[in-house]
């Protein structure tokens, strides 16, 4: 139908258009002042869902990064303990070889025994190394020491301390002390005790070299495995921080406004609003009565 136009309908439509313009202005203004594209999820449900997902991912990545950093400290503690233990064992080996010298008297062997006793203490304290109050060679134990006075390993077979560094990836950060140092009578500590006893009795203890070598072998392989895990953890840490940055960028792209674009839109909208005001003023004012005398 062809609309009849009256002063009232013109007023109404002018007002409605002004309202529309002002609503657009207000929306842009809200975007400008909040810095966010979305004022509410229904503005763009897909982006809102994406933003929630990205935010949760970001939180998870930062937790993984923390886990990785914590794991790295564990591995570093294990590493330094193993390196120190290896040095101790090398010194023990040297002393054992020295004990084979036929010219040595009981006093000299006694002196060797004293040093081995010292080294035994060192080794035990290395094996009982702790990180944040926990023994790194018996990670899940709460005994305070990995090896007690009877050289009993306090850890649980099959247990390990793991750090989650990805949705499905974990890295073991402690080391099985029983595999490295042995347990009870078969442990490296008992071996050193035997050496001390042998040297005290003025014996040649070179027949023990094989056992010492086997222990050093175990220490070396533990150190190698520990080192490789440390490398994994460090590279994962770098990857995690890159991922975190990507997620942050994506979140910003999804949620934040493009300032230049919004300013431009606001400017355009302002022009449109002023135009609507001007047009309204022109169309509402004149009346036939102005022209009749």
């Amino acid at each position: 139908m062809i609309d009849r136009v009256t002063a009232l309908t013109v007023q109404r439509s002018t007002l409605a258009n002004l309202q529309n313009n002002l609503t657009s202005m207000a929306r842009l203004q809200a975007q400008m002042s909040s810095g966010k594209k979305l004022q509410r999820p229904s503005d763009d449900p897909a982006v809102a869902g994406e933003a929630m997902h990205l935010r949760a991912t970001g939180r998870r990545l930062s937790q993984y990064t923390r886990n990785a950093a914590d794991g790295d400290s564990w591995l570093a503690t294990v590493d330094s303990a193993l390196i120190a233990s290896l040095a101790t064992m090398r010194r023990v080996r040297e002393l054992v070889i020295t004990s084979g010298d036929a010219g040595l008297g009981p006093a000299s062997r006694e002196a060797l025994a004293v040093e081995v006793t010292e080294l035994h203490g060192d080794l035990l304290s290395q094996a009982n190394s702790r990180y944040q109050g926990r023994t790194v060679f018996a990670g899940t134990s709460d005994a305070g020491v990995a090896f007690d006075a009877a050289y009993t390993w306090t850890g649980s077979p099959g247990a390990g301390v793991e750090r989650r560094i990805g949705a499905t990836t974990s890295v073991r950060v402690d080391t099985d002390g029983s595999a490295v140092f042995g347990e009870g009578a078969g442990s490296v500590f008992a071996l050193l005790d035997d050496l001390v006893a042998g040297l005290g009795a003025n014996q040649d203890v070179n027949d023990r070299l094989d056992q010492i070598d086997a222990r050093m072998e175990a220490l070396l392989s533990a150190a190698a495995s520990n080192g490789s895990r440390q490398r994994v953890l460090q590279s994962v840490g770098t990857a995690l921080s890159t991922q975190a940055l990507t997620v942050k960028t994506q979140l910003q792209a999804a949620e934040d406004i493009d300032l230049a674009e919004v300013i431009m839109d606001l400017q355009l909208q302002e022009v449109a609003y002023k135009g609507a005001l001007g047009a309204g003023a022109r169309v509402l004012q004149p009346s036939l009565l102005d022209f009749l005398r």
């Binding site: 139908m1 609309d3 009849r4 136009v5 009256t6 002063a7 009232l8 309908t9 109404r12 439509s13 409605a16 979305l38 509410r40 999820p41 229904s42 503005d43 763009d44 449900p45 897909a46 809102a48 869902g49 933003a51 929630m52 997902h53 935010r55 949760a56 939180r59 998870r60 937790q63 923390r66 886990n67 914590d70 944040q132 109050g133 926990r134 018996a138 990670g139 899940t140 134990s141 709460d142 850890g155 649980s156 099959g158 247990a159 301390v161 793991e162 750090r163 989650r164 949705a167 974990s170 949620e255 009346s287 036939l288 009565l289 009749l292």
Partner: protein, 480 residues
């Protein structure tokens, strides 16, 4: 025609034009009156009695003009269109408003919403699993778990409050509809009185049309006009207004959220309308603001087409249930550092809303269990499993994300539908106004026309007077 017939013809015109001017005056006076429909004086020429016969004396000139009636420039189709569109738009707008409020009470996406509380909760489990021997991490976990439970309580309380407010609003609106219906019935009676007396009750009809449009907005009435000028209004097929009697609608059904959501009643039942004189009989509603609110207040349906608010509460309950059951199932198997096992982390769910009752069962930090049996006191492997729930494909996080996105989707759809309906309503209103409203320019022109016609009729009278003057005063004085 007699000698003085012309004078009475001119007189009829003077009277008719003055009446027309009066009607234009009424139009201009009501140019800004809401609901006023412009009127026109309908003029009709008076014909002489012309019966064809041998000695017919008529000369065929008419006997002047008369006002045959005052017409109201309404258009029943435009009025009906406006009412239909108003009812439809009011229904959709009410729903959109409910959705918008619900959406804002969910408070997502943000740094402070439930999603963030869940993320914090899982991160705390990571920390406890990493350092089971540190009691401060457990204390933090317990605090954050309580906060998470509080978030769920708050969300559920918000939804329940919104439901109660919507019900109060529905009651107020139904009261308003009843009062309006009573007014329409009264106006029907008065209009009938005026029309049977032969008068025109245009101003009363204007008032009644306004009220009927208001009723459409509230409860979506259908209108049936009667021959005698009365309007009958129907809701759900039954008369709300029948002639000069009005019936009364009441809000019935669930009185509290618990009944609508099914916590206190099985099966759940929503809110509906009944006729006051027919209790127990549900009024089927199709449109209007009240109908929109009723759909928000309805009971949940398995296919997601039930009440907006009750279904939102169900979704919250699903999040809470998933959280409680999944965490408890794993925590139950874990050992504390003291070796205690078979303990629930959250209080096991009883009947009713899971989101409203979720609570942390553990109060002492040392009772948080993360160790697996036989793996040492400081083992954290079970805690790690709980932390991994944050990633579970149908875990609480996932459930919550889906709730938020679905609510956002539905809100967006409801908002755009209501915007479209509102546009249609505006255009229907514009059409109706274009037909009914007063244009001052038009009235000015009509006034000019009436004024000129009046002047000309007066001139006709003067001309006849002068003509008669010649006849009366100048005849028979030839040569004087």
């Amino acid at each position: 025609m007699g000698t003085f017939g012309g004078i009475s013809t001119a007189l009829s015109s003077l009277i008719a034009q003055r009446t027309a001017l009066d009607v234009h005056g009424q139009n201009i006076a009501n140019a800004n009156t809401r609901g006023y429909t412009r009127q026109r004086a309908e003029l009709g020429a008076i014909t002489t009695v012309q019966v064809p016969s041998m000695f017919a004396t008529s000369d065929g000139v008419g006997a002047g003009v008369r006002v045959t009636g005052v017409a109201r420039a309404d258009d029943a189709f435009l009025d009906a269109k406006l009412r239909t569109q108003t009812a439809g738009a009011a229904y959709l707008t009410a729903r959109a408003e409910v959705y918008a409020t619900l959406e804002s009470s969910l408070g997502e996406p943000s740094e402070t919403g439930l999603a963030s509380a869940l993320s914090t909760f899982w991160a705390d489990w990571h920390d406890v699993a990493n350092n089971p021997h540190v009691s401060s991490t457990r204390a933090v976990l317990l605090d954050d778990a309580r906060q998470l439970a509080d978030s769920l309580h708050q969300l559920h309380a918000d939804v329940a409050t919104q439901w109660r407010q919507a019900r109060t609003t529905a009651i107020t609106l139904v009261d308003q509809a009843n009062a309006t219906a009573a007014n329409v019935a009264e106006l029907n009676g008065r209009i009938l009185g005026v029309t049977v007396a032969g008068g025109a009750a245009h101003e009363l009809a204007d008032q009644r049309d306004l009220l009927v449009t208001q009723l459409s907005d509230l409860v979506g009435v259908t209108v049936q006009p009667r021959e005698d000028g009365q309007l009958d209004l129907f809701v759900g097929g039954n008369a709300l207004v029948f002639g000069s009697t009005a019936r009364v609608l009441t809000v019935a059904g669930a009185a509290d959220f618990g009944q609508a959501a099914g916590y206190d009643a099985t099966p759940a039942y929503g809110v509906h309308l009944e006729w006051a004189d027919r209790p127990g009989q549900r009024v089927p509603m199709a449109a209007g603001e009240v109908t929109g609110l009723l759909t928000a207040l309805a009971a949940p349906e398995p296919d997601g087409t039930g009440g907006i608010l009750t279904e939102a509460a169900m979704r919250l309950d699903a999040v809470a249930t998933s959280l409680v059951e999944r965490v408890n199932a794993i925590h139950y198997t874990a050992l504390t550092t003291g070796g205690t096992t078979n303990q629930n982390f959250f209080v096991p769910l009883a009947a009713g809303s899971a989101a409203a009752q979720i609570g942390v069962a553990i109060s002492a930090p040392q009772d948080v269990a993360v160790a697996a049996a036989g793996l040492g006191a400081n083992d954290g492997s079970i805690g790690q499993l709980i932390a991994d729930l944050g990633l579970a494909s149908d875990g609480p996080d996932d459930e919550w994300n889906r709730t938020v996105v679905e609510t956002a989707n539905r809100t967006a759809a409801a908002l755009s539908r209501s915007t479209v309906a509102e546009l249609a309503r505006t255009s229907a209103e514009q059409d109706q106004l274009a037909q009914a409203s007063v244009d001052t320019d038009e009235e000015t022109v009509a006034m000019l026309a009436a004024q000129r016609a009046y002047e000309a009729a007066a001139r006709v009278m003067t001309a006849i007077d002068e003509m008669l003057d010649v006849l009366i005063n100048r005849t028979g004085i030839v040569g004087r």
